[in-house]
Symmetry: C2
Subunit: 159 residues, 2 copies
DNA sequence: GGATTTCCTACCTGATTGATAGGGTATAAC
DNA sequence: GTTATACCCTATCAATCAGGTAGGAAATCC
């Protein structure tokens, strides 16, 4: 049970926006794709999911780009994960996708239901801001590095 | 992010054993496969994972079968899930499977790490016994039905 | 020895993941 | 208005994985 690159890349995109709020109003997809070593065309599709969920403010046209629709402290990981994954449920029956012969009298239902709640309860407590703050705290630097890092190898798979 | 049938079927197998402890010492794979509407050959592979983890006592040969290696109250969902999934980690870097360019300075590491812990903390609190007991309580019957249910359609996907 | 049941390995098929590609549409700068 | 830049949408595709099938070897009971 692993989360897909869709969710991992989408989260990284949001973190990128959160960490560059002192910069220009809108951040271009191209910039994020390059600095995060993600295919721009692929990131495009992922970002669309976030936009549909209302997490992003968009400016089209030249010099346009994306920004967070709300303050980072008002965006929870729960919301982000649901936007990207569709739901948090670890089995289909919890979001009504599958008709299971055991539905309604399933011996294992409770553990799946409880697991979803446990994940939800954890993720709702983490905001985009708290995630970024914790990272900055651990890495003992208060601002983003002025000099962007050298481009990474595209072949390396990133979280 | 959905759990595979491997984990779902494996869990159901263990629940089946836990609910039939008043029966014969060893339960045949064939019986479980039929009553749970799972392909016997497929269940075979899944059960092997549980055996390797030491969760099952096995008797080979004629009249052989499987039984729980320990009392149901001593088997946690955490242990079961790890046996079947390999680990609880939602991303590869947490169990060292992927070398990620961001490892060691990853902005999103904390939420993945925290999510794994949240799942682990929940699952370790649920034992095979507590899961079964909760089911029996909700279904208001203290023993397993004497008459086995009619075989279900194989085509229906079960949790 | 024969019947039964677990153990092991290989194989197959369809769905999903992780992209890539190409064009269409909207907007801002000039 | 032109052009450049950026977002938007659909189709395609290779690789991987999920889910399941198949055949036989090894162990055990009678």
């Amino acid at each position: 049970m692993k989360f897909s690159t869709r969710t991992r890349y989408g989260l990284r995109f949001l973190v990128f926006l959160a960490m560059h709020r002192n910069g220009p109003d809108f951040i271009q997809l191209k910039q994020v794709a390059e600095e995060e070593s993600i295919s721009m065309k692929y990131l495009e599709q992922i970002v669309r999911l976030l936009k549909r969920s209302g997490l992003l403010a968009v400016s089209r046209g030249a010099y346009g780009g994306y920004a967070l629709a709300r303050a980072p402290e008002d965006i929870t990981m729960r919301e982000v994960f649901i936007s990207l994954e569709g739901s948090l449920s670890p089995v289909g029956c919890l979001d009504g996708k599958l008709t299971c012969a055991k539905f309604g009298h399933c011996e294992t239902f409770e553990v799946w239901h409880g697991l979803e709640n446990a994940m939800s309860d954890y993720l709702v407590k983490i905001s985009l801001k708290s995630l970024v703050d914790e990272y900055l705290e651990k890495n003992k630097k208060k601002t983003v590095a002025a000099i962007p890092p050298a481009p990474m190898e595209r072949s390396v798979i990133n979280v």
